[in-house]
């Protein structure tokens, strides 16, 4: 009987079995941020425990940080306290911290892969549900709660039940204006936000094979939005090329040993999955959400379904049976761990170049990390955005969850490249519509919900 990719990686990390379904799982990389760690560090202090493996642990400040004037002290008292608590804890326990002002600072799921901290075949955790992002490199990566953050700090292991396996295959090439974000929003609209509950997803098929690593990150990022604990893509030549030259890629003998292991990382032909679904790339169009969970999305040219949940429609002030095209929007947010990497910014800039945002729109670009910011500036993308009327700011989670000052005002619409459109997610009463960076850019220009394909020349893809 063959093994799935997930099982191969999982088996390699079992320290011991507790019972037939429960394992002590070793964790190779633990990413820490300021919001879900303070109570975990407190637990260690109460028990007089050190951090067991500081060389498997990295921290950054992202959720609370301002996206303007990051060289100044954080204004908001509670945010400042949380970030200061992280700094103090990292100092006390000896944990490597890429805090504000550090050239490696950024959204935790952006910096892991870009620094070569995340590798194929490893286990990675973080006290954040979008840890699934790291699965794009072929890692078993999943979000954990604060109790588990404490366990990982204290023993570098977790007691875990092996998840069920699901394979989502998409085959074929993507049409004009269709991006990885549209692929995952489409899947969410088809299987709903609980379609993968209790499962770990493997994304397979020619569409993902052809996709860039950053595109795969966008897809894996939203695995949790399908109810899955995580999602991963089998590593291939693209993955290995992506990793070349990354800061923390292991070297010499360590790397050779890893590379031999990486060659084994695919699901065997005879492997069986608990659930399988298949889609065709040609069925996917640019997507937008109309409701208050990421599964409530439609092809941008379609009408809001008649059976859409009423509570959602009321909150969003949209009507069943209507098209969203032409609907006025007030905000555009290009950012978050879903879509704030350099390729996302390049894509948005390619559409924005030479155009101007509608006067009533507040449009923001928040790069995912200091490295992305630096690269974008080197390529002149900041100038393109600013010339068009966008604000180009400093890295952090920002309006994805509005823990800092960047919030969407009550009752206003925001076309957002983030991953959650829950009630109040971007600010109390804010109305979020999830879309790709390309669609978000198009909406910023017209000030309304727009089918980006109508703004693209034939040469543009």
């Amino acid at each position: 009987m063959g093994k799935t990719l997930l099982d191969k990686i999982w088996d390699k990390h079992v320290v011991k079995q507790i019972d037939a379904v429960t394992d002590v799982l070793y964790i190779d990389r633990h990413f820490v941020h300021e919001v879900t760690s303070p109570q975990a560090f407190s637990e260690l202090k109460e028990k007089g425990l050190p951090v067991f493996r500081i060389n498997n642990t990295v921290a950054t400040a992202d959720h609370n940080v301002p996206t303007k004037d990051q060289h100044l002290p954080i204004q908001e008292a509670l945010s400042r306290k949380q970030v200061d608590t992280l700094i103090a804890n990292c100092k006390e326990f000896g944990v490597e911290l890429y805090g504000l002002g550090h050239p490696f600072q950024g959204i935790v799921h952006v910096i892991g892969p870009e620094l070569g901290l995340t590798l194929p075949g490893i286990t990675a955790v973080c006290g954040d549900s979008h840890t699934s992002t790291h699965g794009a490199l072929g890692a078993v990566a999943f979000g954990i709660g604060t109790s588990q953050v404490a366990q990982t700090l204290a023993a570098q292991c977790l007691i875990m039940k092996r998840p069920k396996k699901m394979r989502i295959s998409v085959n074929g090439s993507l049409g004009k204006g269709v991006t990885p974000k549209d692929v995952i929003l489409y899947i969410a609209s088809q299987i709903s936000t609980s379609g993968a509950t209790d499962h770990f997803i493997e994304f397979a098929g020619t569409t993902f094979e052809a996709m860039s690593i950053e595109g795969r990150m966008t897809v894996c990022n939203m695995s949790i939005e399908l109810g899955a604990r995580g999602g991963l893509v089998a590593p291939d030549q693209k993955t290995f090329d992506y990793l070349k030259g990354r800061k923390f890629l292991p070297k010499d003998q360590d790397l050779e040993q890893l590379q031999a292991y990486w060659k084994t990382l695919y699901s065997d032909n005879e492997a069986t999955f608990d659930k399988e679904v298949t889609f065709h790339a040609s069925d996917i169009d640019p997507m937008i959400t109309y409701g208050t969970n990421p599964g409530l999305g439609i092809k941008i040219q379609d009408q809001v379904p008649l059976e859409a949940p009423k509570k959602s429609l009321e909150y969003m002030a949209v009507e069943a049976g209507q098209s969203l095209i032409g609907k006025r929007i007030e905000n555009v947010f290009i950012g978050s761990c879903t879509n704030a990497r350099i390729e996302d910014l390049r894509l948005a800039a390619s559409l924005v170049k030479g155009r101007t945002t509608a006067p009533h729109v507040n449009a923001m670009v928040i790069p995912g990390s200091k490295q992305v910011e630096k690269q974008a500036i080197e390529e002149g993308l900041d100038k393109i955005f600013e010339a068009a009327g966008f604000q180009f700011r400093q890295p952090g989670c920002s309006a994805c969850l509005g823990m800092n000052e960047d919030k969407v005002p009550k009752g206003e619409y925001c076309v957002s490249t983030s991953n959650r459109n829950f009630e109040g997610r971007q600010g109390v009463g804010a109305r979020t519509m999830l879309a790709s960076p390309l669609t978000a850019a198009a909406c910023a220009i017209t000030g309304t919900i727009t089918d980006v394909r109508e703004m693209m020349s034939y040469e543009e893809v």
Partner: protein, 200 residues
């Protein structure tokens, strides 16, 4: 970890599917560095009107229903991994959440704190909700030992992993166990292929 073995209580029905953790505890209340006092902001934006007055339409503000068991719809606790959602529910006074399904991370967080994620079949859920709506003083008994839930003359079995069940019955935490096997973990590392991070 708060121990749990058996509880008889009335229940509060919050009959909405896909209740996400952003509703249970909005992000702006995650700036705390402790676990206490967080129940104050449980379901904050549903519970209070914009003028900070309690919303009379929200079930937690109605004197009709009370109890230590919250009934939610399907996919309860979806969204962010914030354990603050579990702390908020427990700080408010809940010990059990009954739903037809739970989001994975929420379930794990609940089990790590001794909040029981009680998953029941839709038919049982419906008749339980109906009984409570007909008579809000209906008592529900949840017994972790024999994994049953009962009200009036109906009862059902619920699933919980054997290991988790023992932890909650005894109040054991994973952390203490993992620390106790650090030698085995060190031995595992010696033969492991993935190197630690080479910080300079």
């Amino acid at each position: 970890m708060k121990k749990f073995d058996q509880l008889t209580t009335t229940a509060i029905p919050l009959l909405i599917d896909h209740i996400d953790t952003d509703q249970i505890i909005p992000a702006r209340f995650l700036k705390t560095t402790v676990k206490t006092g967080i129940g104050e902001n449980l379901f904050r934006d549903w519970r209070y009107l914009p003028n900070t007055q309690p919303n009379p339409d929200f079930v937690l503000n109605q004197s009709t229903y009370s109890g230590e068991l919250l009934i939610g719809g399907e996919n309860f606790g979806c969204g962010s991994s914030r354990e603050h959602a579990v702390w908020a529910l427990m700080d408010f006074g809940f010990r059990v959440v009954m739903a037809t399904s739970f989001a994975d991370i929420f379930k794990q967080n609940a089990l790590n704190n001794g909040l029981i994620p009680l998953q029941v079949a839709p038919a049982f859920w419906e008749s339980c909700v109906q009984a409570i709506q007909n008579n809000p003083s209906t008592k529900i008994t949840v017994d972790l030992n024999d994994q049953t839930v009962k009200f009036n003359d109906e009862s059902a079995h619920f699933e919980i992993d054997a290991f988790r069940k023992q932890c909650i019955l005894k109040g054991y935490t994973d952390l203490d166990y993992l620390v106790s096997i650090q030698d085995e973990i060190t031995a595992f590392e010696a033969a492991h292929t993935v190197p630690a991070i080479g910080f300079q």
